[in-house]
């Protein structure tokens, strides 16, 4: 079980302090209309360079398997990586505190403003527009996130096929999520394990991989 591999490339930058971590996660959460994943990828990989795309998708894969909201699990893992448990708490707090306060104020305000039907119609229209943008953002981000799969151990065509099966299983065949994670996920993990082990054996044997 404890066979090891060479360490992977690390991202070039890191947060200087807990305050910077908190501010970063608050900022990205407040920009995340209809979900935070798209803006998290943009801020953490492209603007701040705290994670490489490969590290992001690897952490996301772990976050996705665990219970809890995937972006909250992700913030926890990133905070923990840089500053230990205090970083984990600070990143998660940044992700939740300000948006939660804003949302509760919004709900309170809407409760008091429900007597203005014209404004309500305008707001409903705006929410429809935001929802459409949010759906497009997720798809665009996932397409961008799939770029590291080109260098994936299983090869790009196999990865595309596996992603396609997971997609079709969820959207059209309505498989339960747990089946996809355990069945398909188990299969791909096992296949990747064999390939990685063969590569490690080749490298140790002094042969050219």
């Amino acid at each position: 079980m404890a066979e090891t591999l060479a360490p992977q490339d690390a991202a070039p930058a890191r947060p200087a302090s807990l305050t910077e971590l908190f501010v970063a996660f608050t900022q990205l959460a407040l920009q995340g209309f209809g979900g935070v994943l798209a803006v998290a990828q943009r801020e953490l990989c492209e603007r701040r360079n705290w994670l490489t795309p490969r590290e992001f998708i690897d952490l996301l894969a772990t976050a996705q398997v665990l219970p809890g909201p995937n972006v909250c699990n992700l913030s926890l893992m990133i905070g923990d990586r840089f500053f230990g448990w205090r970083g984990a708490c600070v990143a998660l707090a940044g992700m939740i505190a300000a948006p939660m306060a804003l949302l509760l104020m919004l709900a309170w305000g809407l409760g008091h403003a429900s007597q203005a039907p014209e404004a309500a119609g305008w707001i409903r229209g705006a929410l429809t527009g935001i929802a459409a943008v949010a759906a497009g953002q997720i798809i665009g981000t996932v397409l961008k996130l799939s770029a590291p799969l080109r260098e994936h151990e299983l090869g790009a065509p196999a990865c595309a096929a596996l992603a396609g099966i997971a997609f079709a299983g969820m959207v059209w065949l309505r498989w339960p999520l747990l089946w996809v994670l355990l069945g398909l996920g188990g299969l791909t993990c096992t296949a990747t394990w064999f390939i990685l082990r063969r590569r490690a054996a080749l490298a140790q044997g002094g042969g050219q991989p």
Binding site: T4, I57, Q64, G125, L127, A131, A132, E153, A166, L196
Partner: protein, 178 residues
Amino acid sequence: MIAWQADAWWTLFGHFLALSLMSIGGAITLVPDMHRRLVDGDHLLSDADFTGSIALAQAAPGPNVLFVALMGWHSAGLGGAMASMLGIMLPSTTLALAVSRWVATRRDWLSVRAFQAGMTPVTVGLLLATGWLLMPHPGEHLRAWLLAVAVAVIVWRTRIRLIWLVGAGAVLGGLGWV
């Protein structure tokens, strides 16, 4: 809004605590269970407030799990919101931190690397499905669908600030164009 409703707070805390570790794929997967417990079982909030909580949290900034806070708020005010969020987050957060630490210290293990790398194609497929299911229906809302497709291409191919896209969507929607 800030009345002392300790009984309702404990009830909410207990319900969400029980659901937390089942929320694989996000709290949104547990909506039917939440409805059964909070609306049908304990009559803590109305059906309209229940669905309204999900819709508002989806559109507002922040993680979608915040709909849980809104449900708590509609049920028992500010204390209800806090109790609900604590309940849904505490178990899953503790587990996630423990597992991620275990994984992080063994990042160069073959089995750990195989697990993370192996899950990524599946993760991509699952997230794509999430986005797909949120897309407007092209038959009924053609212009909203076109907007979503345009946004997907822009996000994929450019580095434009996402907030501009959200603003554009809000304006187009508010003017009744989508």
